[in-house]
Structures are given as C-alpha cells and as structure tokens.
C-alpha cells in the first residue's frame, strides 16, 4: 500500500534523527499523563513510537486517499452557491477522513481532544498532506488557529472551541487581510466595537481569506477608534453565522481546492482573545510565524511530489534509444532537485525543533512563574530559542518556497512538451507552488524579517563552534569551503554596515540572508554526512554550489551593484 511516510527515506532519516527528548518531556509534563490517557506515552521511546504510528497513518491516508483525488479537486474547485461555499468533493471527503482518523488536532492538548504532539511532528504531517494535495494543506494547516486560541485565549474559549477543531467537526479561518491591508497589516480597518450590552461586534470587509467559509473565525480588527497603527488592533474569535457573508470566492492560478473568500461582517458578535491592543503585535505575529513554518512544509511537500513525477517520467520516457534519466544532463537536473529537497528538509526540521524549544520552554517558564518557582533556566532557554526561531522561521519560508518554484520548474522541464499539457500532474504542482512564496508574507518580507538577526550575526557563536570542530578527512575540504563562505559573509556584511545606506542595506539583505542560509544548512549537512555515507554526496554538491553562489553574492555587494537603486526613476524612465 502506498505511504508517503514509509516511502520517503529522507523523511524517515529526519524522523530517526530528531532530538526532541527535552521537548517531549516538557510537552508530556514528565510523562505524568500516561496514567490518565491510554494514548499518552510512558517515556521518550514510547512517545517516538506513537509519533511513528501516527505519521504512518497520516502517510497512508495522504498517499492512498488524498493524492488520488488531487487532480479532480484541481479541476472541480470550490463553488459559491447562495452565499455558501461548497468544497470540491475530494476536499470534503479528505477532511472527513482526517477527522475520523483523529488527525485534525495534532498539537492540541489531550483534554481538548488533541494528540498533544510537538510541532515538529505536525510539520511532518503537513509535508505529507501537501505532497498529496497542496490545496488541502491550506485547510489542514488551519490547526494553527486552534493553537492560537489555546495559547492566548481564556479557558472558557479553549473549552468552547478546541474540541470542535480536534474532532474535525469545525474548520476555521485566520481573518487578517483587507483590500488595503495586505503585507501592511497595520492598516487593518475592520471595526470592532462594544454594543450597549457590552458584547464586542465586528463590522467591515476582509479579503483573500483562506477558508473564510470556516465555522470559527479568528479576526484582526481595530478596537481602538481613531488609532492608525498596529497598536490599535485586537484579535477576536467568532462563530460564522448569518451576519457573516461570503461575498465572493477568488479564481486562482493554483491551490484550487482551497477556497479564498471575501467576507463581510455585519455587526457579528465576537469575543476578545487575550488582551486588547495586542492583536497584531503579539498574537497575529505568533499565528503568522506558525503559518510560515506550515507554508515552508507545504512548499517542500509540493517539491517532493514534483521530484517524484520528474523521476518517474525520466525513467519511463525513451528518446535517442534510451530512457532520458540516463542522459547526463537530465540526471544532473534530478540530482540538483534531490539535493535541494534534502537540504530543504534538513533546514525545515531543524527550524521546527527550534520552534518546539521556544514554545515548550516558554510554557514551562510561565508555569514555573505561576507557581512562584524559579523560572530562570527555562526562561533563558526560551529566550535563546525565540531569537533563533525569529531568524530561522522567515528564512525557511523564504528558502523552501523559492526552491519549490525552482524544483517544479525543472520537473516540468524534464517532462518537455508533455509537462506543459494538462495530462500530467506536474503542471498542477507548478501552479500550486507559485503561491508559497507570496502568501503568509512574500519572500521579500521574509528577507526583511530575517535580515535584522543576520546583520547582527545572531548565529556567530554557533558557526564559530562548528568551525572549531574536527571533521574526518574526506569532509575537511567541505568544512574549509564553509569557512570560506563564512569569511565572504562577514566581509560582505562589513561592506553593507560601513555604507550606512538604508536603501542599499535593504536590497543587499537578500544576498546576506542567502549566505547565512548556506552556512546554516551547510553545517547541518556536514553533520549528517558523518552519520550517513550517502549524505556525503548531498553535502558535497550543496556546499560546493553554495560557495559558488556565495562568491557571486559577495561580488554583487563589494562591487557596489545596488548603488543604482536610488536612480530607479531614471533607469526606468
């Protein structure tokens, strides 16, 4: 039986090398729940076995149930009938199936019906679901909404909403974007006001809302009349009722199974989540960071599917008297794709584990403070992980979504003319990939988010420690190349800082962020090459190309290539 977990040796490699022992001990409260819930693990090994069982189940549903429906979902799309959104048949069936399998509340606590898994495992499930049908991920990945209510809502809200998410009875939507507030969410206008009875009500229009037809809506709204920026915004939760109207659904290039709605709120009753004025600056940033990690996993899943299609086609298609996979040029393209996939996966799961550390140590520190115990150590770990995750989350979203576009592009190229036709899945995958570097913050915005810590060389100590390590003979050459990338980065950064030109810095940020990514991923692959001999191939190709790319980027910066941006008017005239 096909299975997207057990058929993917690289995903299994990462699963087998997870370093979640501390995180799981925290999330399981030192395994105390085993006496209350018969699905709770008794120790780390037991927990890992649970994750393996459940990922195998998710991999089977992805391969066996969801993937065969994806092409029809793409053709059928969603419909708006009498102000109601009707899902494509395959989407409805897949959501029902995932609900039956109890896979809709992966990270939620057990007392609300969830599986209480770390985010890293949830992200692995997202990768597999996305490989099966990228558009379904947009609904499956909305578990982040429940996670936000869990984290910032009050107990009554948790009890009211979370079990319905976990059972799959309800879906949700994160309702942020407006016609004039896309990348710039500070400009959100949708009005929140308290009526005579003291109930919050929402009034206004939202646009490009993924699954806006969902049952439980998390809405960013202006609760402070007269305010202009993000500090006047609060987060609300409401049930979709007759006061919420889906005005239209968008016709999109890809992810046809995901309904993108325009919503009108007509004095909809709502509850405040957390504190007033913290809507954007705290809760939505948290929600968006979760969603960005999810989109990175979605991009990886699509890229994996595209790679599989390319390999299958190249091994079957005969030209010049042989299968084209044997042509060195095609083989080279396939290897490039495979190296990109494996390096991307290394980055994704490294980031996911940092996110887990941030969240779990953060929760632990909060619990200790509540009990009046010393939270210094947990607090310190949480702080460190918060900084690292704040750098790596936008980085992974940027790198993996851009890479997914490249991989689907090359996979289509390997299909030749056939790839351009509707008959093969690759054209759908190419369309689906295109949104991943746009939504939840464009690549350009991810670079902005990552560039601060990169300019500060946040991981400087981490890289210095990696440089100081001894590598076995056959890897020492690669280690030397990484050292050179590090030097190129530091020199380029110095040039950028010395210029003290904000415009130059913003443009050069892309080159610096790229170089930082090469370093971080390069060292991950070097570690893997020491435990798995096949990974030496991956590390070698990745690091050699990374050095070439780093030299080019350094040259762009030291050669003052972006100084002409201030003359854009003249050049573009």
């Amino acid at each position: 039986m096909p299975n997207f977990f057990t058929d993917n040796p690289d995903l299994l490699f990462h699963f087998d090398h997870l370093a979640l022992e501390e995180v799981v001990a925290l999330v399981e409260h030192d395994y105390q729940q085993a006496s209350v819930y018969d699905d709770a693990p008794t120790d780390y090994a037991d927990a890992v076995q649970n994750y393996r069982e459940v990922l195998t189940l998710a991999g089977q549903i992805a391969a066996d149930f969801i993937a065969p429906r994806a092409a029809q979902v793409d053709v059928e799309g969603n419909r708006l009938e009498n102000d109601r959104v009707i899902y494509a048949t395959g989407i409805r069936e897949a959501l029902d199936r995932l609900g039956q399998a109890e896979l809709m509340g992966v990270t939620l606590p057990r007392k609300y019906g969830g599986l209480n898994f770390p985010t890293t495992i949830y992200i692995m499930a997202i990768e597999m679901i996305s490989r099966a049908d990228a558009s379904l991920m947009n609904l499956y990945g909305l578990q982040d909404i429940a996670e936000t209510i869990n984290r910032f809502g009050n107990e009554a809200q948790r009890e009211q909403f979370l079990p319905q998410f976990a059972s799959g009875a309800c879906t949700g939507a994160m309702v942020l974007t407006e016609p004039d507030a896309g990348s710039d969410l500070q400009a959100v206008k949708l009005q929140a006001y308290e009526d005579a009875e003291g109930t919050w009500r929402l009034r206004g229009v939202k646009r490009f809302i993924t699954n806006g037809c969902g049952d439980i809506l998390l809405v960013l709204a202006r609760s402070e009349p007269g305010s202009k920026d993000g500090r006047g915004l609060s987060l609300f939760v409401c049930r979709s009722d007759e006061t919420v109207k889906v005005r239209r659904i968008e016709h999109k290039l890809g992810i046809h199974g995901s309904p993108t709605c325009e919503l009108q709120f007509n004095d909809t009753p709502a509850q405040l989540v957390g504190k007033r004025k913290f809507g954007l600056i705290k809760y939505v940033m948290d929600l968006m960071n979760g969603a960005r990690l999810g989109v990175a996993a979605q991009a990886l899943g699509i890229a994996q599917a595209a790679y599989e299609e390319a390999v299958r086609y190249a091994r079957a298609r005969r030209q010049f008297g042989q299968v084209i996979a044997n042509l060195p040029v095609v083989a080279n393209m396939l290897i490039d794709m495979r190296v990109a996939l494996e390096s991307n996966r290394s980055l994704l799961y490294a980031v996911a584990q940092w996110v887990d550390r941030r969240d779990k140590y953060g929760e632990r520190a909060a619990q200790l403070r509540e009990r009046g115990e010393s939270s210094a150590e947990a607090g310190e770990r949480a702080k460190q992980a918060t900084q690292v995750a704040a750098l790596l989350t936008p980085l992974v979203k940027y790198v993996l979504s851009e890479s997914a576009n490249k991989i689907t592009y090359d996979a289509l190229q390997i299909h030749g003319g056939a790839g351009y036709m509707r008959e093969f899945p690759i054209e759908r995958l190419t369309r689906d990939a295109r949104v991943t570097n746009i939504y939840e913050g464009t690549s350009q915005l991810q670079i902005v988010a990552a560039s601060g810590p990169v300019l500060k060389d946040l991981l400087g100590e981490h890289f210095a420690a990696a440089e100081a390590k001894e590598y076995p003979g056959h890897l020492s050459g690669l280690a030397a190349k990484l050292q050179e990338i590090r030097r190129l980065f530091l020199d380029s950064r110095e040039v950028v800082v010395a210029k003290a030109d904000k415009g130059f810095e913003e443009v050069a940020a892309r080159e610096l962020v790229d170089m930082y990514g090469y370093l971080f991923v390069g060292y991950l692959l070097l570690e893997q090459a020491q435990v798995d001999s096949r990974k030496v191939f991956i590390a070698k190709r990745y690091i050699v190309s990374a050095l070439a790319e780093a030299r080019k980027r350094a040259e762009l910066i030291t050669g003052d290539n972006f100084a002409d941006v201030i003359h854009a008017d003249k050049i573009l005239s």
């Binding site: 069982e53 459940v54 189940l57």
Partner: protein, 296 residues
C-alpha cells in the same frame, strides 16, 4: 436494540501490489516478499459491524484464525474501533482448507458466547473461494445472507438486508442470529483512529508473549500473561486445547483439498494484426469480432 457482532477477518498477502521479486520462477509465491494486509472485504465487513454498533449500540468482536503474525491484523481492528479481538492460533490448525477453517471458526464462535450477527467478507483475495462464510454458517446451523450490500433495518430481532444478485439486487428479511457475507461496495472502511492506534500498540497475543519469553530467560509466560491481562493489553488467544474440536477435522488433517499442481502461466504478446484506420478497415474489424462472437 443493541446488536453484538462477531466479524471474521483474515490477513492475506497483498496481491494487489505484486512486485518483481514476489513470484518465484516456478510460479509459486514468495510470501516473505509480499506484505500482509487486511483482506479488503473483511475490512468492509468490520466497517458494517461498526456502523451497526454506531446506530444501535452493542459490541463488535473481531475473530481471526492465523499464525502469530495475524496479531497485527487484530491490532488494526482495535484501532478501527473493534471492542474485542480474538486470535485462533495453533500449529495444529495450520494448512487448513475452507472446510477445516470453517470448522475451527465455528467452534471458536460458539466459544465466544452469544451474538446477534456474524459478519464475514464475501471472499479473500488469496483464495477467492467465498466458502468460509457460508460453511461457517452451516456448521453453526445459522441462516445466512451472502453478498450483502446494505443493512436497511434492524428491528425486533429481524434484519432487513439488500443483497447483490447478478442482474440487480434483492431485499431479504431474516431473524437473528444470522451470518452475513459482505461485498466490497457495501461501505468504505474507516481509517484507524490515531488515539486508539497509540493505545493499542502494546497489545499482544499469546504466541507473541511466548516469543518474548523464548528470547528472555527472566520472563515467565504465566506471569507475563497475567500482567498483560491486568493492563488490558492481552489479545485473547484460543488454541486447540481451548476449543472442543476433533483433531482430525483441523488443519491439514481435516482438509480434503490438496494442491495437485501449480501452473506458471506467462502471458506473452504474439499474433497481432494491424487494421488500417479507414472505414473499410474498421468495418472489417467489427465483422471479424462479430464472427468470433466477441460481440454481436
């Protein structure tokens, strides 16, 4: 009314996914290379039993006869929602044809106690005999409805079933207890539930515990079984000693069916004829097919 069901399930080689190494040159199957799966129609039978439980309440027990490895199948039944499972396993039951299988199964069902319905898949994908269900019903002296497609109603001890026949369907009514065999189209089996999957992963049958004892001299089978029973992790296991059976009617001894010969049929392309894509060519082709009675 609540309804207690026993579902007969079988672990079979996955004949739907045969790869190069599965078939030996002599045409026999290399079982080690073929993954074992839940017989598809048995899974549908379990689904119908679970649906009936969802509608009317009651208990679902999955029963299989097989080697120790069949415990995997029973864990899957538990994760899908079966309340209890039972493994019938003994070397003396090995090599059974449908007659010996249905004999042992009927004795095991009698041992499990009162029930309202016995479900079975129409047939297994390894043997394709469709005999075990009906033979089991005969041995238990139960009425049976084969090829069941839908359970329409269950009321006052009477079941109404829609049954597939060659050129349509018929609706039958029968008193309980009864045995039903179920066709693949009857329902889409539900997936395992994640929480039950985790909770059931440590459940073990007697032969599995015996294997653990064999590999560890510090363990004793009686105490180990007690421990697993107490933790609710024991798969009830019935051996030849637990059942009132006549040894000569079990396993190979009780099986009149003998495999005389296995032919390895290799299909090769041969004789083909090119038909010109013209009106005349197509007309000739149709004429020839009608003469050969392929259609017409």
């Amino acid at each position: 009314m609540s309804c207690n069901s026993i579902v007969l399930v079988k672990q079979v080689p996955d004949t739907a996914n045969i790869s190069g190494q599965v078939m030996r040159p002599d045409g026999t199957i290399n079982r080690a290379k073929l993954p074992a799966v839940f017989n598809p129609e048995d899974k549908v039978a379990l689904e119908l039993a679970l649906q009936l439980k969802d509608r009317y309440g009651g208990k679902v027990t999955a029963l299989t006869m097989g080697p120790p490895k069949a415990s995997d199948l029973l864990r899957e039944c538990l994760s899908m929602g079966a309340d209890e499972v039972c493994l019938v396993s003994d070397r003396k039951f090995a090599g059974a044809d449908t007659l010996a299988t249905s004999y042992v199964l009927s004795r095991a069902i009698a041992k499990l106690g009162p029930f309202d319905l016995v479900f079975a898949g129409r047939q297994a994908i390894d043997g394709d005999t469709a005999q075990v269900g009906p033979q089991t019903a005969e041995k238990l002296d139960l009425p049976q409805i084969t090829y069941a497609e839908q359970i329409l109603e269950l009321r006052d001890g009477v079941i109404t079933v829609k049954r597939r026949i060659d050129d349509g369907y018929e609706v039958l009514r029968a008193p309980l207890p009864l045995l039903l065999t179920v066709i693949a189209d009857a329902a889409l089996p539900r997936p395992p539930r994640a929480k039950r999957l985790m909770a059931c992963k440590h459940v073990r049958s007697l032969p599995e515990l015996e294997r653990m004892v064999d590999a560890n001299s510090l363990l004793y089978i009686d105490t180990l079984v007690d421990e697993y029973v107490q933790q609710g992790r024991f798969i009830r296991t019935l051996t030849v000693d637990d059942l009132e059976v006549e040894a000569e009617r079990c396993g190979l001894a009780g099986s009149p069916t003998k495999v005389k010969k296995v032919d390895s049929v290799v299909l090769t392309g041969g004789n083909h004829q090119r038909v010109p894509a013209t009106r005349e060519g197509l007309g000739q082709l149709v004429e020839e097919l009608m003469n050969d009675r392929v259609f017409g």
